[in-house]
Symmetry: C2
Amino acid sequence: MGSTESKNKFKDFLLSQGLKSTNQRELILEEFLRAGSHLSTEELYIRLRKKHPRIGYATVHRSLKLFAQCGIAEQRHFGDGQARYEASDHDEHHDHLICVSCGKIVEFEDPRIEALQVEVAGEHGFSIERHRLELYGSCADCSSIT
Amino acid sequence: MGSTESKNKFKDFLLSQGLKSTNQRELILEEFLRAGSHLSTEELYIRLRKKHPRIGYATVHRSLKLFAQCGIAEQRHFGDGQARYEASDHDEHHDHLICVSCGKIVEFEDPRIEALQVEVAGEHGFSIERHRLELYGSCADCSSIT
DNA sequence: TTTAAGTTGAAATCCGTTTTCATTTGGGCG
DNA sequence: CGCCCAAATGAAAACGGATTTCAACTTAAA
Ligand SMILES: [Mn+2]
Ligand SMILES: [Mn+2]
Ligand SMILES: [Zn+2]
Ligand SMILES: [Zn+2]
């Protein structure tokens, strides 16, 4: 999903829900799309405050929730205790590799793992709605430093 | 790992760390092992309080952390915002199927998925230390009710 | 026993998240 | 345009689970 596409989708969402287009929401969305993925509310807020000191944390928080509702962002939780958001850049699902040393996050997708998940769930009578797969370890850079 | 084995392992751990064996720790460990798995601190505390109203929440919390440190328990986080603990009943790793409707948790282990995880990580230069795989959906009972 | 170190429980504190509320703003309507 | 009101905003308060503080108490070694 491109940047323009996301913005349009958000505008449509606001209209459809009887919500209003505001300057803050535009600024926040813009910065969210500009910034790298997997940002926490706090991180995005700090970035925004540099150029727009009057924006409140609560508004950033509420906007991110709207982005998620509308489908242009997704909330994630990697065990550090705070929610992170990433743009839904494509329709494809992906999982994450996380370096426990430097914090780097790499995305991946493996159809074989996905298929096995469905199979295993089926064996237990479950139908899967969603899943979470996170691999924690050392990235190449951090391994070589050792 | 049997109940007696866990108790011994914990005693050894306390000794080795210069910590003390106390009545509370024994009661808490006993109830932890007796109760079903995946209990939150709060849930264990409530169970304990019925027979032993003088035990404090903080002590339950601290004991669970000790159990985890010592290796007889593991902390888990399933997206409901609170930590859960389970006894390390066996040395084998396992993942979880979680019913979003009734909350049932089923454990599973699939060597094929585990192998693929290592393979995928390797392709990205990562060496895995640990992982988290959770499948959320509807269990057989909840699916049939629909 | 005596004593030092560890433990306990109640209450306070932490910290990310969410809500409250007085005030401001967006945008439909005349 | 201005009016009006529902929605949005930002500062501050509230929330909730995890963690810490601290004075009183317990453990176990001497
Ligand atoms: Mn991602
Ligand atoms: Mn389990
Ligand atoms: Zn790294
Ligand atoms: Zn169920």
